[in-house]
């Protein structure tokens, strides 16, 4: 049978971007080792509604680690202590009965807080809009097998394409850099012949946008890779830098 657990939570509460926030203590006494961390927050919120309190706001959608909606700092770590796991898939069996866990939003200059644990990550969309795509309109595509792509290239592209855009990399980075996110998209497309045509323009436009959004520089801490739920490699960042320098000078 599943073990019953008591969990103490210290959760960041903040009513809006301009209002100061603070940590507030809560206790959930009927947690189970099989529940996910977000289910623990669900239980807390039901408790708060029943007692006339104000439930804790947080983003989530798929709850299976693929949409990138969720993301909070659990005990100081983006997405919590379990590696390669988004917080929606973090299960309470990673904790002990009686633990006190601090929960805070992803913090970065480019991610303003909306409310409680909800932050504004629209800067990521603007980086993709800068040129995170292949400029192909519907209808003009050749047969899918017209250009052979080696299995290794396709697999490596997929490794980078697996990014879920959750923002953990930014939250973990001491500089609040979005280098891992940006480099992942650049690498995904640069590894495929379809993406190579515009590779140079792409890297310049995306990196410039990243800076314009207020993300910091990369100083090779690699904290981003450590918390990435999809294990995206920092190797992409080095290639992005080289390609950026080349791109800027050839302009």
């Amino acid at each position: 049978m599943a073990k019953n657990m008591t969990i103490n939570l210290r959760i960041w509460r903040q009513k809006g971007p301009e209002v100061p926030g603070k940590l507030v203590d809560y206790t959930v006494s009927n947690a189970s080792e099989h529940m996910s961390f977000l289910e623990l927050l669900d239980v807390l919120n039901e408790q708060l509604i029943a007692s006339g309190g104000d439930p804790v706001e947080f983003d989530s959608d798929c709850r299976e680690g693929i949409c990138g909606s969720c993301g909070v700092m659990v005990a100081g770590i983006a997405h919590g202590p379990q590696q390669l796991t988004a917080v929606c898939q973090l299960h309470m069996r990673s904790f002990k009965d009686g633990d006190t866990i601090t929960v805070e939003p992803f913090r970065a200059r480019a991610f303003p807080i909306i409310r409680d644990l909800v932050v504004d990550r629209s800067a990521f969309d603007r980086i993709i809009t800068a040129h995170g795509y292949v400029s192909v309109k519907t209808g003009s595509a050749p047969d899918a097998n017209a250009i052979p792509i080696s299995k290794d290239a396709a697999e490596e592209a997929m490794d980078f394409a697996a990014c879920i855009g959750c923002g953990a990399c930014v939250a973990a980075c001491p500089n609040g850099s979005a280098s891992l996110f940006t480099a992942a998209k650049i690498a995904h497309l640069a590894l495929l012949p379809q993406g190579q045509v515009e590779a140079s323009r792409r890297v310049v436009a995306m990196v410039d946008q990243m800076e314009a959004e207020g993300f910091g520089d990369c100083s090779n801490y690699a904290e981003c890779e450590a918390v990435c739920p999809k294990g995206i490699s920092v190797a992409g960042i080095a290639s992005m830098r080289r390609a950026y320098m080349k791109g800027v000078f050839s302009k």
Binding site: H34, S36, I49, P55, S69, R93, S122, Y133, K137, M158
Partner: protein, 651 residues
Amino acid sequence: MSDEVANSMSELSHSPRLDAKVPAGRLQEKWDAYKDAVSLVSPANKRSHNILVVGSGLAGASAAATLAGLGYNVKCFCIQDSARRAHSIAAQGGINAAKNYPNDGDTIWRLFYDTIKGGDYRSREANVYRLAQVSSNIIDQAVAQGVPFAREYGGVLANRSFGGAQVSRTFYARGQTGQQLLLGAYQALSHQIAAGRVTMLPRREMLDLVVAKDRARGIITRHLVTGELERHAGDAVLLCTGGYGNAYYLSTNAKNSNVTAAWRCYKRGAFFANPCYTQIHPTCIPVSGDYQSKLTLMSESLRNDGRVWVPKDPKDTRAPEAIPEDARDYYLERRYPSFGNLVPRDVASRAAKKECDAGRGVGETRLAVYLDFGAAIRRLGVQTIRDRYGNLFEMYERITGDDPYKTPMRIYPAVHYTMGGLWVDYELQSTVPGLFVLGEANFSDHGANRLGASALMQGLADGYFVIPYTLGAYVAGIRQSEGIPESHEAFTAAEEEAGARIDQMLNNKGDKSPTQFHRELGRLLWDHVGMARDRTGLEEATGAIESLKDEFWERIRVPGSADRFNKNLEFAGRVADFIELGSLMARDALRREESCGGHFREEFQTSEGEAVRNDEVFADAAAWEHTDRRPVLHLEKLSFENVHPTTRSYK
């Protein structure tokens, strides 16, 4: 004549309100004939038309990107903070296309035939044929966008097989096919945003459709951060808002998936077709406790190599590894020798339920069966299995704490997909002119049961390749001067109604949370409108749902206020709509006195427990019209001119 009689008389005939507008001619030539004849809109005129695309999943993102590429002015809306997070992102297994790259005998006809048969002969031939025709273009388009599909060593695309087919026509990107296809569409959308042709409005929820002078004129949305109600006028509205599986509370759908947008359209005159057709997916991780917030799918592709079994003896509670071969019942292989573990979803789900009902279920709750990779690992080696399913195995272990390389997975069916949805004609237009419905939100192509890897195909077919033509036919026929401004009284009225509902929920200050109501509704639907249905249960559910609806408005408690980010307020509105939908689902299930696809009526089965369809009376799509009194039924009679409906057999 009483209403009942009027209804039963209308059962005999096709409703004049449902003109499917299927082009004349041979099945194979209909779509080309349509495209040859359809009116075109000049580039200058396209620029002057505003198109509202609600939803940014595969259907919405592909439609918005394509229409913007053609020159229309597009506004695109989604609930999530980014278009890239739409529920389509979670699709795992793959997408079908009749490319026949493996040279194993696939053709457009076969994909068409498998889809019609898989849908248990409850879909429209012409739509399904068109879907099969454009399927190949989708793969071409995705590859051109940089979607990293799996490949063979020679550099060509790889395929796998899926349930309900005997050819390999499924393309995939590891277990993240939906993610990669959606990112492709999202990037195409971003390209058009950069070009200034699409305005993207995330964190918006559509709360109503604005209809005036008999046409869809725009929508009302709530800004989910500020709470503001907003008006958006458009020349056409494309509803791409996904399915309603979350009516059951527990499903494999994302937490924000909802019926609200579709339900508001229903209340404004769009007919809702076949609401009782829901797909219960056979391979999901079983429920573990009361706190459960959603169910996780284990891709159907696992059934390519996994074998489903239960112990022969219900009292055999040994660990699975300790149960010898001769004490195991591989019941799918036994009952369906030719398709074995690859029978379609409805068949596999019901078979699992049957074993568990007979007491042979496994695990703590006894509501599970084994999906075993032992034989495949011995045959192919761990590495091959890891290459094929590595990320799914990891996900399983993260959730359950068990390692499927060592011990069989435990799985149980869960609500997954809804074949029902707003009724649309061949042009994807609903019964409200100017309102088009794409993707899972419409009822069209999957009949009573959807085959695996066909939803991604349909969403993208609708968005990339169908709507660009059919929307043109509508737009060419409207005059700019006919549009109404956002200050029009129809907008004011709709906005006031939406606001009043929000206030009512907030001011009620009852004692039950939205989630409590949602769970109760879910239990009712799962028990009575789930995998097996019967008259008594459906009648009971109908009454119980009506009471739940009354109770909702008496006892709902929504914390906080309307002018801020407020997830519980969002949920409350969606639950209220799910309750009303639940009642229509039960009504539709009650009327359909046959078993077909995902709809299984206990009263209509063979002695072996196989479904019994009734083509004489029920070869139709049941489209419900909202009225103030009770829903009125309209029928689209389905005619099969190219395939002959037979008893679906996978034996």
